[in-house]
């Protein structure tokens, strides 16, 4: 059986290698992915900045055009996020301002301008303590032709950064008629006026063309762009004048016809692009590859495609089918011919255009479906109508057209992979037979596979590092055109080196003699392993160092990031406990979640004094204790001290762990208790080390249940563990277990009943999010698993991969105790999915260290076992086990991103709400009214809020309550308002109104959009830290904005 297992493993390795080689071959020699290239900025382009350091930069350029434009475009790089407006219309944005950032240049609204064609994982944003990605390294292209017109035009940019060093670089041109000199938009050359506040004149916003910007100053011109910025888009797509004409042909009696054009390509070096638009229903094929078909009339849409992978050297055939609707009589095409426009070109690597195509009278048309080359049916020439006018088009870059041809992709990729597998099998056999002189089918094959292991691990490692590389700016290197070739060369080099090494070791000694060397290698390895198996005394020194480092990272500069809403919620409840003995929020509502945590922190603050930092410090302590418990669990289950130390070290610098253990919220306390529960459960029920551990298990489990009720989903795991491992059970002897369970569940039940009674009834009639959140349901079943297994970080994928492989590995190894831990993670995920309605990855945070422990242990066991097995196959000729283990360490190290973790102290993203309310507090006058989008911080800093303006006008989850007929927010007790009429009523009875606003995008729904715009044009902006902004409206200014009252100020019945 073992022999079959070894054969299967060898086969799996060779197939994996073959597939990876096949994929490399496909991307190098067959269909190359769209490369990312450095942007060639004009030498005159400069960064522009505000005059004073600021988190925000508002920039305007006013243009007076004497005539309609023939073309206009710009490209920009913003440090670190931006919104672009032209004449008040938003043309695109790249914006990340809350808590954390998913990835490099993510959340942009420019389709197909990402750095590669990765389909992103659908994960929810989670708070991580990590430096933000430097989004300015990616440049975006925008076409402006459609949005500029004769007369006054304004291009406006809003740029924001988490540090006071915001900057932006723009290069762009506007082309007039008759080849006149283009108008320059470039920063450093053109005049950009800037401000650090979103100002408005009466109700005219700063981005409106009519806003008077005379008082704005000119931007500070900074350095030239010396750093490289990247884009996959070719500038030519935007700056090249449209060259073709609209053409038409003779329709059949049913209103359809075909067209055909020839495109001669003298060479295939370079990139090919096409731009096209058409009437009615139409489709375009190149060399019988479908580019795209369009069902409805979208004549004003210019489709931009890269077609490099679809064209060939020589003559290429472009075929178009156009058809009128069924009901021609009633359509706009009644008396109008169908028409089509296309132009295209091939661009050499140096940027030279060597081959062009455009729709003209050389195109052939036919009213019959015949695409045969030189067919007689294609005698009719196309009729040219008029030149394409750039102003009539909306341009949309739709990416690499080859991606749409998935059957061809699958077919070719499969062929390449089969070829790769074939090559790998032959190569393995040759290596074993010729290289090492082995005889005998499987022995030869195994020996060859063993020699290929370093190269195979290299390719697997590169694949794993490349995976999700679009999320990391360091990953930009993988999108370079030559990267795949370099990876292949790297593989070949490793193989050559391995061969030479093995030949050198093998020189002069027969294979049979290597049995001695085998035993020598093993003894060396055992000696090395023993050195790693630290004595009981020696293990404490590195452990203490790791824990101290972990503590230091958690405790250092606790004020570095602003408090988030959840933190403010807990802090408010803790303050209520200190004040009244009960977790009463500023609003007067009881916050009954996590009572144990809130009372514990209240006690801590009573001892050390109330402050936000001291409250955070309690989480630092819980986080540090968690590290120690994780070490003990890892050591208990793996039996390897060095591995337990490594796992503890990784957890010590994990960005998710760091974020939560610096946060005043119950998740870290919960995680500590979960880890204690597993530890005590293992000792009390699996290893049966004494009744004390059993009792401690009940205490820690009760603690976790009183910290987050949803973790009742963990109980089935313990029940299963108990049924599996605790044998025999005697009620007489084990009565304490029953008693412990009953006491634990009774206290928990009391907590739940109290929670249900004491919490005010949420108004279900207003929001579905306010209904009960824990019940058996079937909904979005992948939400929790994806949040946990995929996560916000690339390394989560590695953990998940090794976790799943480890599950299978330890199942084969029949390690029941570890299988219990693996099953616990899976059962927990399943039960939380079925029982908890609100999906958030942080709800699974409690079990995260267990997941990391199992993943890392699996990685070392699997790779170690694989290395040892293959090492035996070549009689210890090469230290394959050591190589395999080193590759795991390298893989983990290259995905941990320690530099970004350290950058987190300066760059971790967090909305600066507390600072904003401190500003309000300093300037607040007795009769002032405060309105806020995000009320939690107001509760802490101001101790009150008059009105709560739900973000984007929508209420969700448990953020609001009915209190004596008033609908209020649960934090600061602000009355909920959601219409302009209600807002006007507030202005009418107030002298000064402070308005705190978040940076959420403008809603689509008209009512919400009206309110969104209205509040952003009230009064004037006074303070704008990162992620939030503050406006002040004063009656004394003499302006009461007028809107027609629509009777929406009546509020609740």
């Amino acid at each position: 059986m073992k022999q079959i297992g070894r054969i299967l493993v060898n086969l799996a390795l060779v197939i994996t290698l073959g597939c990876l080689l096949g994929m490399l071959g496909f991307s190098i020699w067959d269909k190359m992915p769209t490369p990312i290239n450095p942007v060639t900025w004009s030498p005159n382009v400069r960064w522009i900045e505000p005059l004073q350091p600021s988190y925000r930069l508002y920039a305007r350029q006013t243009l007076y055009l004497t005539d309609d434009v023939q073309g206009a475009w710009l490209r920009l790089s913003a440090d670190n996020s931006f919104i672009l407006y032209v004449n008040g219309k938003q043309l695109g944005r790249q914006l990340t301002t809350s808590n954390s950032s998913l990835s490099f240049a993510s959340r942009n609204t420019f389709p197909n301008q990402d750095i590669n064609d990765s389909a992103p994982y659908r994960v929810r944003l989670e708070n991580r303590f990590i430096g933000y990605p430097h989004n300015w390294k990616q440049s975006f292209y925008v076409d402006l032709s459609k949005d500029l017109h004769a007369g006054k035009n304004v291009i406006a940019l809003e740029v924001q950064k988490a540090q006071k060093s915001v900057r932006v670089a723009v290069e762009g041109y506007i082309y007039g008629k008759n080849g006149a000199k283009p108008l320059n938009l470039t920063t450093g050359e053109a005049r950009w006026k800037v401000s650090t506040l979103a100002e408005n004149h009466h109700q005219i916003s700063w981005l409106n063309p009519n806003f008077p910007d005379e008082s704005w100053v000119e931007a500070k011109v900074a350095d030239v762009i010396s750093e490289k910025t990247f884009s996959r888009v070719s500038q030519t797509l935007y700056d090249r004048i449209l060259t073709g004409s609209w053409i038409t042909g003779n329709e059949s009696n049913k209103g359809e016809f075909w067209m055909q054009g020839m495109w001669d390509i003298p060479q295939t070096q370079g990139r090919s692009f096409i731009r096209f638009a058409g009437d009615g229903e139409y489709s375009l094929l190149i060399n019988d590859h479908m580019i795209q078909s369009y069902q409805s009339d979208d004549k004003n849409q210019l489709h931009l495609f890269e077609v490099t992978n679809l064209i060939k050297k020589g003559q290429n055939i472009l075929s178009v089918r156009l058809a009128k609707p069924f009901d021609t009589g009633s359509s706009i095409f009644q008396n109008k011919p169908l028409s089509f426009f296309l132009d295209g070109w091939l661009e050499t690597p140096s940027g030279e255009i060597v081959s062009q195509i455009a729709t003209d009278t050389n195109w052939k048309t036919s009213s019959k479906p015949n695409f045969q080359i030189n067919s007689d049916a294609l005698q009719d020439r196309a009729i040219a109508l008029n030149h394409a006018d750039p102003r009539e088009f909306d341009r949309r870059f739709e990416g690499n057209a080859y991606l749409l041809n998935y059957p061809d992709f699958l077919w070719r990729n499969s062929l390449w992979q089969l070829l790769g597998i074939g090559l790998a099998v032959v190569y393995a056999w040759l290596l074993g037979r010729v290289g090492l002189g082995y005889r005998g089918g499987m022995k030869t094959f195994s020996a060859g596979t063993a020699l290929m292991l370093p190269g195979t691990l290299f390719l697997i490692g590169m694949g794993l590092i490349k995976h999700r590389y679009a999320e990391s700016e360091q990953g930009l290197i993988f999108a370079q055109p030559s990267t795949n070739m370099l990876i292949l060369l790297g593989f070949i080099s490793i193989q050559v080196f391995t061969l030479f090494w093995s030949f050198w070791l093998n020189r002069g000694a027969s294979i049979l003699d290597t049995a001695n060397s085998d035993s020598i290698t093993h003894s060396k390895w055992n000696r090395l392993s023993k050195q790693f198996q630290l004595s009981s005394l020696r293990q404490w020194i590195p452990l203490i160092i790791i824990i101290l480092v972990g503590f230091g990272l958690r405790a250092y500069n606790l004020e570095a990031t602003a408090r988030d809403s959840d933190e403010n919620t807990s802090l408010d409840a803790i303050r209520g406990i200190l004040r009244t003995g009960a977790p009463v929020a500023t609003s007067g509502i009881w916050y009954t979640r996590g009572p144990l945590y809130h009372y514990a922190v209240a006690l801590w603050l009573k001892l050390v004094g109330y402050s936000s930092e001291n409250a955070r410090f309690s989480s630092v302590i819980f986080g540090t204790i968690t590290l120690a418990v994780a070490f003990f669990i890892a050591r208990k289950f793996t039996g390897k001290v060095w591995l337990a130390l490594l796992i503890t070290a990784i957890l010590a610098i994990d960005p998710w762990e760091l974020a939560i253990s610096r946060n005043t919220r119950f998740y870290q306390f919960l995680q500590m208790n979960v880890m204690f529960s597993f530890w005590f459960f293992a000792k009390g029920f699996i290893f049966k080390e004494g009744r004390t551990y059993q009792n401690l298990f009940f205490v820690s489990t009760l603690a976790l249940l009183l910290t987050q009720e949803g973790y009742v989903t963990l109980l089935p795991c313990f029940l299963i563990g108990f049924l599996c491992f605790y044998r025999p059970f005697s009620l007489k002897q084990d009565w304490s277990i029953v008693l412990g369970s009953i006491i634990m569940m009774s206290i928990f039940a009391f907590n739940i009943i109290f929670f249900l009674i004491r919490c005010l009834t949420p108004p279900v009639g207003i929001s579905s999010g306010s209904s009960i959140q824990i019940k058996l349901h079937l909904g979005e079943i992948t939400g929790f698993a994806e949040g946990f297994l995929v996560g916000n970080s690339r390394i989560n994928i590695l953990y998940s991969l090794f976790f799943l492989l480890g599950f299978a590995y330890f199942l084969i190894k029949k390690n029941g105790k570890l299988i219990f831990l693996f099953s616990s993670v899976c059962i927990f995920l399943l039960s939380i999915t079925l029982l908890v309605i609100q999906i958030s990855p942080r709800y699974t945070f409690g079990i995260y260290p267990l997941f990391v422990i199992l993943s890392i242990y699996s990685a070392f066991c699997i790779l170690g076992s694989l290395g040892r097995s293959l090492e035996n196959a070549i009689h210890g000729l090469l230290p394959l086990r050591a190589i395999a283990l080193c590759s795991v360490i390298l893989l983990l190290a290259s995905n941990l991103e320690p530099s970004r973790v350290l950058a987190g102290y300066q760059e971790a993203l967090a909305r600066q709400n507390p600072q904003l309310f401190e500003y309000v507090q300093q300037h607040l006058q007795p009769e002032d009214v405060v309105v806020a989008n995000l009320p939690a911080a107001a509760a802490i800093t101001l101790g009150k809020l008059d009105y709560f303006l739900p973000s984007q006008g929508i209420l969700s989850l448990d953020g609001f309550y009915l209190d004596q007929g008033r609908l209020i927010d649960r934090w600061a007790g602000g009355q909920v308002i959601n219409s302009v009429d209600q807002f006007i009523a507030i202005l009418e009875k107030s002298n000064r109104v402070w308005i705190q606003l978040d940076d959420n995008p403008q809603p689509n729904e008209p009512n919400q959009r009206q309110l969104y715009d209205y509040v952003r044009s009230l009064g004037h902006s006074v303070f704008e830290p990162y992620g939030v902004r503050l406006r002040l409206w004063q009656k004394a200014d003499g302006i009461l904005p007028k809107e027609i009252n629509q009777g929406k100020d009546l509020g609740n019945y």
Binding site: A119, M290, S293, N405, Y406, G765, L778
Partner: protein, 456 residues
């Protein structure tokens, strides 16, 4: 105390934990067969001429296994065969959503439509709560309805799909484990899965120290079948997609006969295409250009063209003609309902608000075409209240509550508003006590059950 403990120990000696677990698993399996695993309103099933027989048949499977479980918790037998049988049963049960949504696309279509309609109505409440809550809501705007979604869940758009990040779609699109299909599933299906897991756990528990070995041995036996099953499952969605793609090319080349023939075969072998607008429109046009028109499809195509040109009146006429020619076409029925509702909403949102009264006709007609259309019911409830017809508004509110009762996760905001509108009716009738109860129901979901029962 000692006597009780010794008696309990005596019982425990004879009834071991594995037998208890297996027995509990069997009971859970029986519990899961209490009612049909999929539920839709009966009048909707009748109008759409669809049945949920599969869901009714399916639930007998756990009963069979429950019997086996109970029998073997008493008697001895070949444990490995039993375990493998339970694994097989579990996999078949796990595939229930796949079979239901793939082979009865009309059921998936209706469920998907109700889900999106409910979500839209719910969101409308959340965005406009202060206006909806107010009796004076003359300036409220209703949301325009969207066309129903395609029943082809797993439509491949480009080769980016073949990446690890698309693994989620295996569950949501191929196995149909998505919120819209789950919208009307009975939790008994999940309970059946739980029952299988508990029973299997009991069976492995019996192996005491050899449980993991037994599991590994079983997995070795199951793995080839499981791998083959997954491969076939993948193939069953990949091949139709590739054919669909090739049909696009054939259509662009004018090979209409080929498109017609293959489309008909494809829709028989992979029925979800019967609920796909693009597929049916292409088939309609192929027939038209090939001089073999399918009248109901041509009318459907004309309706689509009119809809795209915002000519709702013409679109309605064509969709109605199409439905008359082919009353079983669930997609056409869904489109017709949407167009009529859209006309009603346009009429309602027009600047002169006296249109609220005439809009109700459109909403009523929508409900005749598509019974229990959630958006139509909600719009009608609001429009009747605006017209001062609180009795009729309350009727629709009651209908909303009843239709939401069969949903797996009722929409709280929608139901809350329905109770509020019931409350107004009682208030107008001077039945203040009942009005207060109704009002309580609009803010407290704990009060729903009692009064709903009192109503019915």
């Amino acid at each position: 105390m000692k006597v009780i403990l010794s008696k309990l120990n005596w019982i425990l000696d004879r009834v071991n934990r594995q037998k208890i677990v297996l027995f509990i698993g069997s009971l859970v399996l029986i519990l899961s067969a209490r009612s049909s695993w999929y539920k839709l309103p009966p009048d909707t099933l009748e109008v759409f001429q669809i049945s949920i027989t599969l869901a009714n048949i399916y639930r007998f499977l756990p009963i069979l296994f429950a019997g086996l479980g109970i029998f073997f918790s008493i008697c001895q037998g070949s444990k490995q065969a039993l375990r493998l049988l339970f694994w097989g049963g579990l996999f078949v049960v796990l595939l229930f959503p796949y079979f239901q949504s793939t082979w009865t696309p009309s059921v998936a279509f209706v469920a998907k439509s109700y889900y999106s309609q409910g979500a839209k109505a719910d969101r409308h409440v959340e965005r406009n709560f202060s206006e909806i809550q107010a009796q004076w809501k003359q300036n409220i705007e209703l949301d325009k309805p969207d066309l129903p979604e395609s029943t082809v869940n797993f439509l491949i758009e480009n080769s980016s799909l073949f990446q690890a990040s698309s693994l989620e779609r295996f569950f949501t699109d191929i196995l149909a484990y998505n919120p819209s299909f789950f919208g009307f599933i009975n939790p008994n299906w999940a309970i059946a899965i739980l029952g299988f897991f508990i029973s299997l756990f009991g069976l492995y528990l019996e192996q005491t120290d050899r449980a993991v070995q037994s599991l590994v041995r079983d997995m070795r036996k199951l793995l080839p079948y499981l791998a083959t099953g997954l491969f076939l499952l993948g193939l069953s969605v990949l091949v139709p997609n590739i054919i669909h793609y090739q049909l696009n090319i054939a259509y662009a080349r004018g090979e209409y006969q080929f498109v017609q023939n293959v489309s008909k075969t494809l829709s028989t072998l992979y029925p979800p295409f019967l609920g796909d607008e693009y597929f049916l429109e292409r088939l309609a046009k192929s027939g038209y250009y090939n001089d073999q028109p399918e009248p109901y499809l041509i009318e459907f195509g004309k309706g689509l063209e009119s809809y795209r040109q915002s000519d709702l009146l013409n679109a309605e006429t064509h969709f109605q003609n199409s439905l008359t020619l082919q009353p079983k076409s669930f997609l056409v029925r869904g489109y017709l309902a949407t167009v009529i509702l859209a006309r009603g909403v346009n009429n309602f949102n027009a600047p002169k608000r006296q249109n609220a009264e005439t809009s109700t006709d459109f909403f009523e007609r929508t409900l005749q075409i598509f019974p229990n259309h959630t958006e139509a019911l909600y719009d009608l409830m609001l429009a009747r209240a605006i017209n001062g017809e609180f009795d009729k508004s309350a009727n629709k509110a009651l209908k909303i509550i009843q239709s939401q009762k069969i949903a797996q996760r009722p929409r709280s905001a929608l139901i809350g508003q329905a109770y509020l509108h019931l409350s107004w009716k009682d208030f107008k009738d001077n039945n203040f006590e009942k009005a207060w109860k109704r009002y309580r129901q609009s803010v407290d979901d704990g009060a729903w059950k009692d009064v709903i029962e009192a109503e019915s």
